[in-house]
């Protein structure tokens, strides 16, 4: 029944956007949708009746377990804050004629639809259903990227669609494999994750390895894992910043969620040793590519985008270790990364509004006097940057620390390599922030040619809320939080 509430909310939101006339109305509807979703999820969390099975018509297509709820909660919080942020941001896009009024409705319809698709993806028990929802998120988020009046945006969107969809077709072949495996073990075969988890110990290792490799291609492309990451920096840079936050904070999690589910299946078979090595290698390669690409970066949003790739690599490494402690902290890292990254993209969006060059979108950001013009965004970048590189008091510090100590038990060379790469990434972030934010123009009559962009409070509050949230996450640990994450690990049978 609870699922029906989600569906009704999503449909109501889409319907209302279709009939609403002003930007303010459409934006409020999106805020409302995310708030209702969040309310429903918190109610589910408190009612303690998860895992919920067989929600609609007694079929087994959907279910809600702790992992799904966890991811959906993260998604709804970020969508809520991003929608609040989007009001001021989109207003400015309209003013600067980067977004046409005619496209406004399409933008918000895609926005509301994307949230619903992502939440349903997290609530899918049937892996084929999950595949469909994931595939649709690509298409819908590509609309959000291509919506601006710029050829580069269309280019980035098309690149994203083709890389993600082509890879997702490989995933589908993987699903066919998986279905055939389950059919040869248990007639009539199923793609329901809960049933597969029970059957998994009987699956042949060779076939499972083939199925995992194929499924991994698609989900890796969705989450920006090397070598399928090439769409990510472009899409994140070109998209409006409110959308970049969604892409990085929520959409990458969809791919990771898929990998976690499939890996939990493989973990029950004997193929797990090979798959772990595969994950570790791809994780390290991803972190390496991201760290090296971050070093010469002169554009803030591109730097943050590559940092997302780096964190996805780290999550893969955490999964590869596959001990309960490592999985616990990997899940924690997913949340820590999402909130931190959303805050960073919000701040970068404000700076982008302030300093973007009207002549060329690809010009290097020419930032100076950031503290005078945009103090909140500047502090957002500094604190967010400290958080994402893993400074103490922030949650990423904890997850990085524990993933690294767990990696020590598996392989020392991998640990050393990872430490060096993480250091390079952190250093390039620090270098960028120090060199850009210390540029102060000389006081003089002609120094004030730039007009301060009046940032609406609605764009600043989400950043402050996120910073406070990650600060609390990094310092306070409640037993409820630990218990919840431990339940997820237990449900994944690690």
């Amino acid at each position: 029944m609870i699922l029906a509430a989600f569906i009704v909310t999503a449909l109501a939101a889409l319907g209302l956007i279709a009939v609403s006339r002003t930007h303010r109305q459409m934006n409020s509807i999106c805020i409302g949708e995310a708030a209702v979703f969040l309310g429903l999820e918190i109610w589910l969390l408190l009612s303690g009746q998860i895992p919920v099975l067989s929600l609609v018509l007694g079929n087994q297509y959907f279910f809600i377990d702790h992992l799904g709820l966890y991811e959906a909660l993260i998604a709804s919080i970020i969508f809520l804050l991003a929608a609040i942020y989007a009001r001021g941001y989109v207003d400015n896009l309209l003013e600067s004629r980067e977004l046409g009024r005619g496209s406004l409705k399409l933008f918000y319809v895609a926005w509301a639809f994307l949230l619903a698709l992502i939440v349903f993806a997290f609530f899918s028990d049937n892996l084929a259903l999950f595949w469909i929802f994931t595939e649709l998120t690509t298409v819908v988020s590509a609309i959000l990227i291509a919506i601006l009046y710029a050829r580069d945006n269309i280019d980035a969107a098309i690149k994203y669609i083709f890389i993600a969809s082509v890879s997702m077709l490989f995933s589908f072949v993987g699903l066919i494999f998986l279905f055939q495996i389950s059919r040869s073990t248990f007639d009539p075969g199923t793609l329901n994750w809960t049933v597969l988890m029970q059957q998994a110990p009987a699956f042949p290792a060779g076939m499972m390895l083939a199925a995992f490799a194929l499924l991994f291609i698609g989900f890796a492309a969705k989450s920006g894992i090397f070598p399928f990451h090439t769409w990510l920096p472009e899409a994140h840079v070109r998209a409006p910043s409110a959308v970049s936050a969604l892409l990085s904070g929520v959409l990458l999690n969809v791919g990771i969620y898929g990998i976690i589910r499939i890996f939990a299946l493989v973990h029950r078979t004997t193929a797990v040793s090979t798959v772990s090595i595969l994950l570790l290698v791809f994780g390290l390669l991803t972190v390496g590519i991201a760290a090296i690409s971050m070093l010469p970066q002169k554009k803030l949003k591109k730097l943050i985008a590559f940092s997302s790739i780096e964190n996805m690599g780290l999550i893969l490494v955490g999964l590869a270790i596959a001990t309960p402690v490592a999985i616990f902290w990997t899940l924690f890292h997913v949340m820590a990364h999402s909130f931190t990254k959303a805050g960073l993209f919000f701040s970068a969006g404000i700076l982008h509004r302030q300093y973007h060059s009207p002549l060329s979108a690809d010009a290097v950001d020419d930032m100076h006097d950031v503290f005078r013009f945009q103090p909140v965004a500047a502090w957002g970048i500094i604190l967010g940057g400290l958080a994402i590189i893993g400074m103490p008091l922030f949650p990423v510090f904890l997850s990085k620390l524990f993933i690294l100590t767990q990696l020590f038990t598996v392989s020392l060379p991998a640990l050393v390599l990872l430490l060096v790469l993480l250091f390079i990434a952190a250093a390039s972030f620090g270098y960028y922030v120090i060199s850009t934010f210390t540029q102060v123009s000389q006081p003089g009559p002609d120094a004030h040619d730039i007009v301060a962009y009046k940032t609406p409070a609605g764009m600043q509050w989400p950043i402050i809320i996120l910073i406070v949230m990650i600060f609390i996450l990094g310092t306070v640990f409640t037993s409820g939080e630990t218990g919840f994450l431990n339940t997820i690990v237990a449900e994944l049978m690690f």
Partner: protein, 230 residues
């Protein structure tokens, strides 16, 4: 009933036809024949599903045949042709990395590779009857050949056709290896139609200047007319 041996040989002929259409899609430069080649390839899949249906009597195959015919032989080619006529692109002569000849040689290598790889993976499963095994090989080859088109062509509209051809490969593979529930086949077709519509609309944008693009979008009623004031 028709003799099963006859049907099996018909299916073998259809395999050859599929590979020929795939080779044609890889090498042709003319966009309208590209679309026809795709429609013809889909039609071959329809016949294959029907032939399998008469062999196995599984109603799902009939359903696949019907849905493939409606979506991939009628709707999608019609949509692409309409868009193509409006934006007046006739030829896609730019190949990114691979010339047609290299692509063809490469795809022959791919088919061989998949044959060897699959016979290793499927060594100990029931699927290794000759016809079904062969179907899986052709399906995967078609998929990889489609992928080559997607990544070697420059225009988005040609890339779409590569993607569609890939999806045909997946369908073929699924048809011969296992029986997926119908709901899944149906949802994939929906996904495919949305994806094709979006990418072709976006490709209109890439192949024109932006002002023209927005004019065209208005002409197709894809975005609403400007509302003043908020």
């Amino acid at each position: 009933m028709i003799d099963p041996a006859l049907i099996q040989s018909v299916i073998r002929v259809l395999f050859a036809v599929v590979i020929i259409t795939a080779a044609y899609i890889i090498s042709t430069r003319n966009l309208s024949t590209l679309v026809s080649a795709y429609a013809f390839q889909s039609l071959t899949l329809v016949f294959m599903a029907l032939a399998l249906w008469s062999l196995e009597d599984a109603p799902i195959l009939l359903a696949i045949a019907i849905i493939t015919f409606i979506s991939k032989v009628l709707i999608i080619p019609y949509f692409i042709t309409t868009i193509q006529e409006r934006i007046r692109i006739k030829r896609d002569i730019e190949f990114h990395f691979l010339s047609p000849t290299t692509s063809l040689l490469l795809s022959m290598g791919l088919i061989l590779f998949i044959y060897i790889a699959l016979s290793n993976i499927l060594k100990d499963t029931a699927a290794r009857e000759s016809l079904f095994f062969f179907g899986a090989v052709i399906g995967l080859s078609l998929m990889l050949m489609g992928m080559m088109v997607t990544f070697s062509r420059k225009r988005a509209i040609t890339k779409v056709l590569g993607y569609l051809s890939m999806e045909n490969g997946v369908l073929l593979f699924g048809m011969f290896v296992t029986e997926l529930p119908f709901i899944i086949e149906f949802l994939i077709v929906i996904d495919l139609i949305i994806l094709v519509m979006l990418t072709t609309i976006l490709s209109v944008g890439l192949d024109s200047t932006l002002e023209e693009y927005h004019d065209r979008l208005h002409r197709f009623h894809l975005v609403e007319d400007t509302e003043e004031g908020s």
